[in-house]
């Protein structure tokens, strides 16, 4: 196999809060790895041949890489803002391409049909125009001014509101969503999707959040995000082909899919093709 550009990226491989000496046996891009707390209390990640891999602790997770990361892990400045509650949502395994999992996270048009009465509902299905760009300085995909009708803005809220979203893709299998924060107008709630690629068609997904919310019990916050992600899971396991097609002829995008179009273009440009299908079959 030729060396894939994705080898040198950082990936989540476990929750810091669940790190123990017993360890977690998992995998990264087909390689079995072991994540554990070492004798000195720090996290170690090792391949089955005992070779140690780079480790980084950030955003509630242990991160590692099979290759030689050229950059530090992407920054989420909001994560360090005082007053935010950091939510470890936990892992959910999905039999799908890690890239399909990210692309679905970037999509709003499915809200009325998959997250019915929570994130969207008929007849409020229209996706208004929004802005998408590949920011060359940061080398990230951004979608801004994304607005969508949300029937249940918060657990306590009666009736719907128009929620604004910003999406950011700083790494091939990670995305950060900034979402209207009802208790703090002017601030954004941060909801992330960190995807650990186990294989080209199998991934462990680690959602994580940094929210301004002093009211809702932690368990409710976890359950809300698990609900949303598991609603997506049965979609992700039933897309054909399983790999994300980067050939433009294979699937039909509309204006509502411009984030996905930019994401696919960005993946192709960088050769981030682990979990992608390059030629229509």
């Amino acid at each position: 196999m030729t060396r894939n550009a994705m080898m040198d990226e950082w990936y989540p491989v476990g929750l810091v809060s669940q790190l123990d000496a017993h360890g977690r046996s998992t995998a990264l891009m087909g390689e079995p790895i072991e994540v554990k707390r070492g004798d000195d209390g720090t996290a170690t990640v090792a391949r089955s041949d005992g070779r140690h891999l780079p480790v980084c602790i950030r955003y509630g997770h242990v991160w590692s890489s099979l290759g030689d990361p050229q950059k530090p892990l992407f920054a989420i400045p909001e994560a360090d803002q005082p007053g935010r509650r950091l939510v470890d949502v936990g892992v959910v395994r999905v039999r799908c391409s890690p890239l399909r999992a990210v692309e679905n996270f970037l999509d709003i048009a499915h809200f009325p049909f998959v997250h019915t009465d929570i994130l969207g509902s008929e007849p409020h299905t229209e996706v208004q125009n929004y802005k998408v760009e590949i920011r060359e300085d940061e080398d990230e995909v951004w979608a801004t001014q994304v607005r969508f009708y949300q029937p249940q803005a918060a657990k306590s809220a009666e009736g719907g509101i128009t929620t604004e979203y910003m999406y950011r893709v700083p790494a091939p299998t990670c995305s950060i969503l900034y979402k209207t924060c009802p208790p703090r107008p002017g601030e954004w709630d941060v909801i992330t999707l960190f995807v650990q690629p186990l294989a080209e068609d199998l991934c462990d997904v680690w959602p994580w959040m940094a929210l301004f919310d002093d009211e809702t019990p932690m368990t409710d916050l976890i359950h809300f995000q698990q609900t949303i992600f598991v609603q997506d899971r049965s979609i992700l396991e039933n897309q054909i082909p399983g790999l994300l097609p980067l050939d433009p002829g294979m699937e039909i995008p509309t204006r509502a899919d411009l984030t996905s179009v930019a994401y696919r273009r960005w993946l192709k440009r960088h050769g981030y093709t682990y979990g992608a299908q390059l030629v229509a079959q």
Binding site: H110, T125, N238
Partner: protein, 193 residues
Amino acid sequence: MPAQSPAGRVALWRGRSGRVSAFADRCPHRGMRLSHGFVRGETLSCIYHGWGYAQAGNCVRIPAHPALTPPETVRVATQHVEDGGGIIWISAGEPTGGPPRFEGLAPVRSMTVEAGIVALEEATGTSIAGGLLDYTNADTSVRLLLAPESPARTLMHVLIDEDSNPDERITASRAAEALRRAAEHIERGGTGR
């Protein structure tokens, strides 16, 4: 509902009028299986983004863009379907005639058997004749219409005399279960597993 045809997986669906259609089981938008979708009136919609398709396979609705008339190029492949005598037939190409009729027989159930047709023939001790396989278990006789889905998997439609009463139909269903067990036993032995 999902089904198999020689041309691949299909989504079989029935509109409110009762008309049956067979689509390739994949939405051209994002590749989601259309057999997970929903039917309103004469339209099958994808569960993922609600794109709706008419019986001819053309897209008639993209909910993200309600004012947009979907371009003609957005369509799913369709297959020819015939509803005959309680059995739905799919033709991969253009059929030259109607589907076979099995006069005097009524369908009881369809079931998937993890065995090939050879194992099913061996389990019944007979061979397919006139398109059907006969099977007799104790006093019960059923006729089986077989559609191979792969070399080791067969979709088996169980038919019985149309004058049978409910008790006889239940007995026929149980006989078909016995046949499935026998055929799968042969299949496992035959492949040395």
